[in-house]
């Protein structure tokens, strides 16, 4: 059979973002996939030279609009650790609440897009309808739907009143009820299973060798979750990583679906344990030293390497985002799949290209 190269992207109906993959196909079977990046590359790590370390919070939030809160949380944790700032407990709990709400909205968004990738548009609409509840909570508590800007070095900017907390709880409860109503469709519907079971298999060894992160790694049976590092309030919260052994697209979507419900539970636990006190510690001086911090984003492990030299401007901010780590595993999943399954497989790693290229 003759080999043909089919370009996938950069503008493609299922991808909201420009990812470009060159697919070498032989009789509708993909033989090889070569990624081509650079359509979203801005070079924002360089901005650390002209924005001081407080202003960088606004920049790192815009690495990715979907997990913006968790990016700034990771960055602030790093700066606080270099400067030895003790963050008040209440602020840590509030960070946990917002980061888990972000994870919920990100996973609901992904579940919708995933349903859209195999043409199940009604399911897409359902997930996005539920997601609007979480967006409403974000807007009511922080003032913005997507980029929340709540984290500052030393704590958080906004506080939650008791009335707000009980309203969040009731909204989250309603969202959970609505998610459970469509649980059967996403997990056991015939058409969904037909398109996702056994597609894009990534074995445990492959996932580990190729350095996968987050739900892609956990979907292959490796219990790796950065929340086990006990950052923020996770030391007091009951938490167990969710693992599925099969390594196919169905396993990855199940991991994310179960994590959505788990995050709702974590939000409830954090609100129940919310202590009284200040929400931010004062921050004086400039950071000096190097630090590596890691947090768990909706897409997986995110690593920040920060180097400061006692000046207002940081020497280096290196951001390693989860999708960057998940692209090599994607190249291992694509060979020997059918051309029609390519969108499903690409979406199954939850690609966030603006994260990847920064």
């Amino acid at each position: 059979m003759a080999r043909t190269i089919i370009p996938f992207g950069p503008q493609h109906p299922v991808l909201p973002e420009p990812l470009h993959v060159k697919l070498v196909v032989e009789d509708e079977i993909v033989q090889e996939a070569i990624p081509a990046l650079g359509y979203v590359h801005r070079g924002l790590e360089k901005l650390a030279e002209i924005r001081d370390y407080h202003q960088m919070i606004q920049v790192v939030e815009r690495v990715c609009g979907i997990c913006s809160n968790i990016h700034s949380m990771c960055y602030c944790q790093g700066i606080e650790e270099i400067m030895g700032i003790e963050v008040p407990r209440r602020a840590e709990y509030l960070r946990t609440i917002w980061s888990e709400l972000h994870r919920m909205h990100s996973h609901l968004l992904w579940l919708g897009l995933f349903a859209d990738a195999f043409g199940f548009e009604a399911l897409f609409m359902q997930f996005w309808r539920i997601r609007e509840r979480i967006m409403d909570i974000n807007e009511a508590t922080t003032g913005s739907r997507v980029i929340t800007s709540v984290n500052v070095v030393g704590g958080v900017r906004q506080d939650l009143t008791p009335e707000m907390c009980s309203w969040i709880l009731s909204e989250v409860d309603t969202a959970v009820k609505e998610i459970k109503e469509i649980q059967n469709t996403i997990l056991s519907d015939y058409t969904v299973c037909a398109r996702t079971k056994g597609v894009g298999v990534l074995t445990k060894e492959q996932a580990y060798d190729f350095g996968a992160a987050g739900p892609t790694l956990r979907g292959s049976g490796v219990a790796s979750d950065m929340r086990l590092l006990k950052y923020a309030a996770f030391d007091k919260i009951d938490f167990e990583p969710i693992v599925e052994p099969d390594g196919d697209c169905y396993a990855r979507s199940t991991v994310r679906f179960r994590e959505t419900l788990q995050s709702a539970d974590l939000v409830k636990q954090a609100i129940a344990g919310l202590p009284q006190g200040d929400i931010a510690a004062p921050c004086k001086g400039n950071p000096e030293g190097e630090i590596i911090t890691r947090v768990e984003q909706p897409r997986g492990e995110c690593l920040y390497y920060i180097k400061g030299s006692g000046k207002k401007f940081l020497d280096r901010v290196r951001i390693r985002t989860p999708t960057f780590a998940n692209i090599p595993p994607l190249l291992a999943m694509l060979p020997n799949c059918e051309l029609a399954d390519v969108p499903v497989i690409i979406l199954s790693i939850d690609p966030c290209i603006s994260c990847t290229e920064r």
Binding site: G38, G43, I292, Y305, F324, A325
Partner: protein, 123 residues
Amino acid sequence: MIENQIDVTLESLVGEVSKMKSDGQRMVTFSCTNIGDGKADIIYHFDKNEVLTNLRLTVDMDKPVPSISGVYFAALLIENEIQDQFDIKFEGLVLDFGRKLYLDDEVTIIPMCNNTKAMKPKK
């Protein structure tokens, strides 16, 4: 302060990385920093059971660095990225984008060096 830090040299790098691989470590990423005087720090981060181990390599930016993409395939994207941003050459890269992973022909500067505008790319 970076915990579990091991200093390596150009000669011992690939050996140390292979040792990491046989120890069952997952490669997380590398971080490259320009430290002035034409030198750069590359820190290789590895993870096993949520514990990080870091290998620190200090290199001259005009000398090629041995690629570890033969040991860890996933390293190829990171090495290509460093090649784009710092113009450090990697020897034995399994898939070399030739400074075109992110950047197009129009960008002739080396972005992440401290004196960007003063420097011209080497041929």
